[in-house]
């Protein structure tokens, strides 16, 4: 579940990671500016169409976006307790009053949540971890931070594996961690966490020596075997994203479509 990159070739996979990162960030910012339901919904539908291009299987997509859907539903359900302005009244249950404008407003927030989520998922589904870090470094993230992110992402699955092995070893020496209530269960994790962290710390020690051995920091400017290259399509994509964003903001300010 950690490696959600979809290993297929698609048009979005070929896009320069920088374009996709800028796109995801812009979409997030845009979402907070827009409060017009029609725009948000239109954008949401557009994003779902883009999602088709990621070639992600619908089962995996639904599983990944489930948390966002849950939050969106909570917002829609809670909303009528508080925002009861406007007519007509659709439902009136004592303190729980659903009005049409209020309902549409809650839908707008729900759409906003789903939009932000789908924007980042498109990035994550179509960009490998190393491309992602490369892109961020090219966009101005410090190289050393980028390197530690790469290291972190590489070790995440390994530490999950270490924890499994420790669990198995404890089980084979008769320790049953599944017993007990939530507090006991949390406490049962401590004998697993301590060796995991201790091993991680020894790894950090060795890793720092490996970095020294590989000449990390030897030269102020390092070279790259493969440079990221913006192609025409990348430029075009970037231009379209930017213009679409601007257009929506402008429309929102002018208030052409009212809802």
């Amino acid at each position: 579940m950690i490696d959600v990159y979809v290993r297929k070739a698609g048009p979005l996979h070929r896009l320069d990671p920088r374009v996709k990162i800028i796109g995801a960030v812009m979409l997030t910012v845009l979402c907070f500016f827009l409060s017009n339901l029609s725009y948000l919904l239109a954008l949401l539908i557009f994003m779902q169409l883009l999602m088709l291009l990621t070639r992600v299987s619908s089962r995996i997509y639904l599983r990944t976006i489930w948390l966002a859907v849950r939050l969106a539903i909570i917002f829609v359900l809670i909303w009528p307790f508080f925002d009861q302005a406007g007519e007509p009244m659709l439902l009136d249950l004592w303190v729980y009053k659903v009005t049409l404008p209020g309902f549409l407003r809650s839908l707008a927030v729900a759409a906003r949540i789903l939009l932000i989520a789908s924007g980042w998922f498109i990035l994550i589904f179509t960009t490998s971890q190393s491309q992602l870090v490369r892109g961020m470094v090219k966009l101005g993230l410090r190289y050393d931070l980028g390197l530690s992110i790469s290291i972190g992402l590489r070790y995440l699955p390994r530490f999950l594996g270490t924890m499994d092995q420790i669990k198995e070893a404890q089980m084979s020496r008769g320790f049953d961690m599944r017993k007990g209530g939530p507090i006991t269960k949390a406490k049962n994790y401590i004998p697993i966490l301590i060796p995991t962290i201790a091993i991680a710390m020894r790894t950090a020690d060795e890793l720092s020596q490996v970095l020294v051995c590989k000449g990390y920091g030897a030269s102020k400017r390092r070279t790259y075997l493969r440079e990221l290259q913006m192609r025409k399509t990348d430029g075009l994509a970037l231009f379209s994203i930017a213009s679409l964003g601007l257009l929506l903001i402008l429309l929102d300010i002018i208030g052409l479509v009212q809802l």
Partner: protein, 274 residues
């Protein structure tokens, strides 16, 4: 203990073990051999109930291991994992050795005497209060061996017991394991070191790519160089020497003793092609 038609498929769909069947009688000393990735470790995890077969069964004394609780299985089968670090959980060697004994429900007195006995046996009795993770790799390994043997189960699975040990440590460990097995307990030694297998076991099961390709007396299997080659294993150094030199009866040379017998049996049976 018996294993029948055991098949195991990983979550990602790779086939790890395929249709493996064999039986282990009480008191047997069995070697489980094969190259890295042949499925030895995965098979061990089935024998101790950590993994559940995708197909087939593992029975202990006639009972299906899948239906036994952790404490029931652990009462009968012990497992030494290959990597010493993922099986050290405590802050001192003494606690480490008591960990399993406590889960067996022994009294504090029994725990103390038994862990002291095994610490002496593995020559780690001077390290009682040291944190295990701070010890050298070889000593960490000895601590894990002591911790597993101290539980004194009827069947003990040992995954590469002498890896990372130097000569002294390795002698200590093999002596302890031999002593342990001589009291009627069953041991299964997993290794790609044929010298160790020849020393410790009488029967060998050969795995290759998740399948059982041979099962027989250790001597016969280690003498079958073609079989070893197919399994990606190297014969013992003296066995190679004997066949390099074309010593008469070289097919049967596995240990140093065999070499000496082969050479001394007849003067004309000596070196033919130096």
């Amino acid at each position: 203990m018996s294993v029948s038609d055991l098949t195991y498929v990983y979550e990602d769909g790779t086939l790890a073990l395929e249709d493996i069947s064999f039986e282990i009688s009480k008191g047997e000393r069995i070697g489980l051999i094969g190259e890295n990735g042949s499925g030895k470790t995965t098979l061990c995890k089935h024998l101790n109930g950590i993994l559940r077969p995708s197909k087939g069964r593992v029975l202990i004394e006639g009972r299906d291991i899948a239906e036994m609780s952790i404490s029931e299985v652990v009462g009968k089968v012990g497992l030494l994992f290959q990597n010493p670090d993922n099986q050290l959980f405590c802050s001192t060697v003494t606690e480490e050795m008591s960990f399993g004994l406590r889960n067996l429900g022994l009294t504090e007195d029994e725990i103390a005497t038994r862990s002291q006995r095994y610490a002496r046996l593995l020559r780690i009795d001077g390290l009682a209060e040291r944190p295990p993770l701070m010890l050298s790799l070889g000593l960490r390994r000895l601590v894990t061996i002591a911790s597993v043997l101290a539980m004194e189960q009827d069947i003990v699975l040992l995954d590469e017991p002498t890896a990372w040990l130097d000569r002294f440590q390795s002698r200590t460990a093999t002596d302890a394991i031999k002593g342990f097995a001589s009291s009627g307990r069953t041991i299964v030694v997993v290794s790609h070191n044929m010298k160790l297998i020849a020393d410790l076991t009488e029967r060998a099961v050969v795995l290759s790519r998740g399948r059982k390709i041979a099962d027989g007396s250790t001597r016969e299997i280690l003498a079958d160089k073609e079989l070893l080659r197919r399994a990606g294993l190297s014969p013992t150094p003296v066995s190679e020497l004997a066949s390099d030199l074309g010593i008469a009866g070289h097919e049967r040379v596995i240990t140093e003793d065999d070499l000496i017998t082969a050479l001394c049996r007849g003067r004309d049976g000596g070196v033919v092609r130096p």
